[in-house]
Amino acid sequence: MTAIASIEVMPLPFAMVNGAPFEKLPDDLYIPPDALEVFLDLFEGPLDLLLYLIRRQNLDIVNIPIAQITQQYISYIKLMGELNMELAAEYLVMAALLAEIKSRMLLPRQIEGDDEEEDPRATLIRRLQEYECIKAAAEEIDLLARIERDIFAIDVDVSLLGVDQPLPDVQLNDMLLALKDVFKRVAQLSHHQITKEALSVRERMATILEYLKGENNLLFSQLFVRKEGRHGVVVSFLAILELGKEGLIEIIQSEPCSEIRVRAVSSPSETQGL
């Protein structure tokens, strides 16, 4: 089913595996060609991809046919390359390692005593086994009953006991410093940008949304408060524009020159219909 879909959607020629044209992704691995990140996300890295290849063909991991698996692995990462995926370095390192192992196996064996270093195949197999074990352990952990999903805390009220539960105290400065740390982290993550809008606009945006909460819609003019003066009007106006831009409100004018109305994008009365 999905396999058929994949043939139809995939515009790209696929890699060759073992000399045969690789025309479709395996049934259990269908992803739309443009969902590139999804493709990479499917595998947690080169070890995961290798394991997948081994498991898919029911190969004995202790005795992997290196040549065969190397070809498949390389065809897969070639495929990723064709799909314009930014290949993580780890995948390429693994390809190089596999190629190295393969070439060594092709070379005539060296004289015994020279063989002090470990068979690179054995190292790879041990890593694969260890990784598969961890992968299974992670699945086990995911199955454990956990708070928020399977286990719920109980909440028995004590507010009527006349007990004063002290609440944590927060200094404004601590909060601001925490924010500074966020920015420091963000700065390290290069491309994340935090726009620096005037605060009053953001606050007004929240206020306007709240006004609109219970209402079907409001007159545009109702959103301005005369006594706030010119500055206030500008703030409200910018907030309305920003809300419109973010798709949070609709600005409606039923006919030319009629009064402009503003409403939340979906008023609660509409969404609750049974």
């Binding site: 006349g162 007990v163 002290p166 601001l176 620096k196 605060l199 709240e210 909460k213 798709g247």
Partner: protein, 210 residues
Amino acid sequence: MTPLNNVSIVSEQPEANVKTKRIVEAILFAARRPMTAKQVQQVFPELEQPELPEILSAIDSIIEDYRFRPIELKAVASGYRFQVRQELSRWVSRLFEEKPPKYSRALLETLAIIAYKQPVTRGEIEDIRGVSVSSSIIQTLLEREWVKVVAHKEVPGRPGLYGTTKQFLDYFNIASINELPTLQEIQHLEWPIDKMQQPTQVTSEKQETN
């Protein structure tokens, strides 16, 4: 359903099904607020909702079950709620006498982002922080009435948009969000020396022993 349904003719309330009663009890224990019978009913999936009288009968039966326990299911103005019995307040109050707990760094960050980026969804907060935000943080901020859901964003899932409240302004003694320093000004803030020495709060860690 229940064999003694004849009784219900007399008492008007149908005897609650054992399973219904279990679910009602679980709901009342897990809810963090008083729940009316109707609200309890609506927690059930639509096709499995017991009739209101059955819920009420379950509630009566639960009240009875806890008659001799140190907690009780009590009808308060806005619904039913499990409470610790009054006469135990002397002991229970000592539970809360410890010095006030501290909020985590994660909570402070979340609060600050809501203040500066409101209206903002949880997902957007997570994007900015680069880390997921646990529900309990949001819950704590809501309970403290420092933030509230001002609207819902019209994207799949209709996530809540959070904004700060008047209580938030009052607590920090400012008249408007405007009075917060700008982001540029924040860059120049420094942690006070005494805070530097304990970079991460080690709350709850003290109780480790035993």
